[in-house]
């Protein structure tokens, strides 16, 4: 088993996987806090079109994904308020985008395996250039996140007061969307378009169910994300089964198990009885 770790593709996979799950955990924390899971879902569908369309320009699918998700994310960020509640409209646009993706797929790749890679992840075949691209943009994204952390948190919870205190709420919303686009493009690399939720949302959602302290929550999200990713990769390699299946299964099962478990174990997580129903 250890001999495997000497293989270059495995090293690449672990490096990329590690950084990407860290950034997914942090961005995911905000996605859950800001209730923007739908936007994340949409962007990952769009990623499919970007990946398949990239072939037209001869670019790697990662580049195509980046380009398209960032573009659409920018659009979401700009039209932010007007998009809320427009599920049908967005659903129609997404379906069209997916339809385009299917077309591109048929036109430029004659095998369905490519599609499956984009849809279900291709971390074990990540190339050196993809690795550098994702490490580079990932690190940049992390730095930006660290800088905007406080005002973003403020704007996410209390936009009116934040605005009054000089926080550029709209601009931050736009920046965050673009960061989300970048993160999703990278997540697609690891688990594919269809399973992005597992890497992006599950760790953060689980952490937020367990604790309400921001610092601890983020730390826990990262820990869980890494656990799922490494665990998934190891299991996938061991059983010769798609890595993304294991990552997604670990993530999803942990989340779905934690909720009832946590309700049973810690009653003091809730408002105490004396409190309930009091108005002030």
């Amino acid at each position: 088993m250890l001999a495997l770790l000497n293989q270059q593709f495995i090293q690449y996979a672990f490096l990329a996987g590690t950084l990407i799950s860290i950034i997914c955990a942090i961005v995911g924390y905000f996605v859950v806090l800001r209730s923007q899971a739908f936007a994340a879902e949409s962007l990952s569908c769009v990623g499919f079109t970007g990946a398949t369309g990239a072939a037209i320009f001869g670019a790697s699918s990662l580049v195509g994904t980046f380009f398209f998700t960032i573009l659409i994310a920018f659009g979401f960020g700009t039209f932010g308020k007007r998009i809320k509640g427009r599920d049908i409209e967005i659903g129609m646009v997404l379906s069209f985008a997916l339809g385009l993706g299917v077309l591109f797929l048929k036109l430029y790749t004659s095998n369905a395996t490519e599609a499956v890679g984009i849809l279900f992840g291709s971390i074990l075949s990540v190339t050196a250039s993809d690795l550098y691209l994702s490490l580079g943009t990932g690190t940049l994204a992390l730095i930006i996140l660290a800088v905007i952390f406080r005002p973003l948190l403020f704007a996410s919870i209390d936009p009116e007061v934040a605005e009054a205190r000089g926080v550029p709420v709209v601009l931050l919303g736009l920046i965050f969307m673009v960061l989300l686009g970048i993160t999703i493009a990278e997540a697609i690399l690891v688990v594919g378009v269809l399973l992005v939720f597992a890497l992006l949302i599950a760790p953060a959602a689980t952490a937020q169910h367990i604790t309400n302290r921001p610092g601890v929550s983020i730390f826990l999200s990262i820990a869980l994300g890494l656990l799922f990713t490494w665990g998934g990769m190891l299991l996938g390699l061991f059983f010769h089964t798609p890595v993304s299946f294991f990552i997604a299964a670990l993530a999803a099962i942990t989340y779905l198990a934690i909720i009832p478990l946590y309700h049973l174990i810690s009653p003091h997580f809730y408002v105490s009885k004396a409190h309930h129903g009091r108005e002030v």
Partner: protein, 265 residues
């Protein structure tokens, strides 16, 4: 150009999509009115796992789809109020379903092809057996929905008053979702799991913006659904490009035109 119409596989595609379009229009209309479009999305994802599982077991995927979607549909129907706000939980659950779908397919040799066809549709390869299954399920569903039409309409627009007038609102809700499940299952054959919106929601959403009368809306939606499907199949047969792409484009295009007209006037 029209010679292809004599091939049985094209005729099968036309017939099957005809039956799908009708029931999809009716069910889609109610999905929109009841605010349950997410359920269509959810069921199609769950359906993927079912279809994949069926393939693994050597059974026709349609049965896997039907089994998984109907059970989930009943589940969603019973938990509807609890689930409505819980995007994250539903999303993660669906992700799990998809993950198992890939696993099942992976365990079956040649999984890429099967995955592709379940995700994006295989109407041009539909078997005569499946055409029968589609026609039968669609017709029975349609008949039952016609019977339930008025109380369903009433409880969709005014659930509290309907309840007071003796309509079994909750039961209807669950029964409705069973038909959503059936519709999703047979629609997957035409456009696949990922593009279910284009046939299930597209025609009805477009029709709703053109006419307000429920009966006319559904009638128009049926016509649109059939038009998208048949034109899509026809062009796909000529160009050898994916059917679902054309259906998606037509569905989106019509919707866009209608929305733009609204914005301009």
């Amino acid at each position: 150009m029209f010679e292809i119409l004599q091939y049985s596989f094209i005729q099968n595609a036309f017939i099957a999509s005809f039956f799908v379009a009708i029931i999809a229009a009716v069910v889609g209309y109610f999905l929109l009115v009841r605010g349950l479009t997410f359920a269509g999305h959810a069921l199609s994802h769950v359906g993927f796992a079912g279809a994949a599982g069926a393939v693994l077991l050597g059974v026709d995927p349609i049965f896997g789809l039907l089994a998984f979607t109907i059970i989930s549909g009943i589940g969603i129907g019973m938990l509807a109020r609890v689930l409505k706000e819980r995007d994250v939980t539903i999303g993660i659950f669906l992700t799990l379903a998809l993950a198992f779908g890939i696993l099942f397919l992976f365990l079956y040799q040649g999984y890429a092809e099967q995955a592709y066809s379940i995700l994006f549709g295989t109407i041009l390869g539909i078997s005569t057996f499946n055409v029968f299954v589609t026609a039968i399920f669609s017709s029975i569903s349609l008949l039952i929905l016609l019977f339930l039409f008025r109380p369903l309409l009433f409880s969709s627009f005014d659930p509290e008053v309907a309840q007071a007038r003796g309509v079994p609102v909750k039961l209807l809700g669950v029964v409705f979702l069973i038909f959503v499940a059936i519709t999703v299952s047979i629609s997957v054959q035409v456009v696949g799991v990922l593009l279910i919106f284009t046939l299930l929601v597209g025609p009805a959403a477009t029709a709703m913006r053109v006419v307000k009368n429920p009966y006319l809306t559904i009638g128009l939606a049926i016509c649109l659904g059939i038009a998208y499907s048949w034109i899509g199949i026809f062009i796909a047969a000529q160009t050898n490009l994916p059917v679902s792409f054309f259906i998606a484009s037509l569905s989106f295009g019509a919707y866009l035109v209608v929305r733009l007209k609204e914005v301009i006037s």
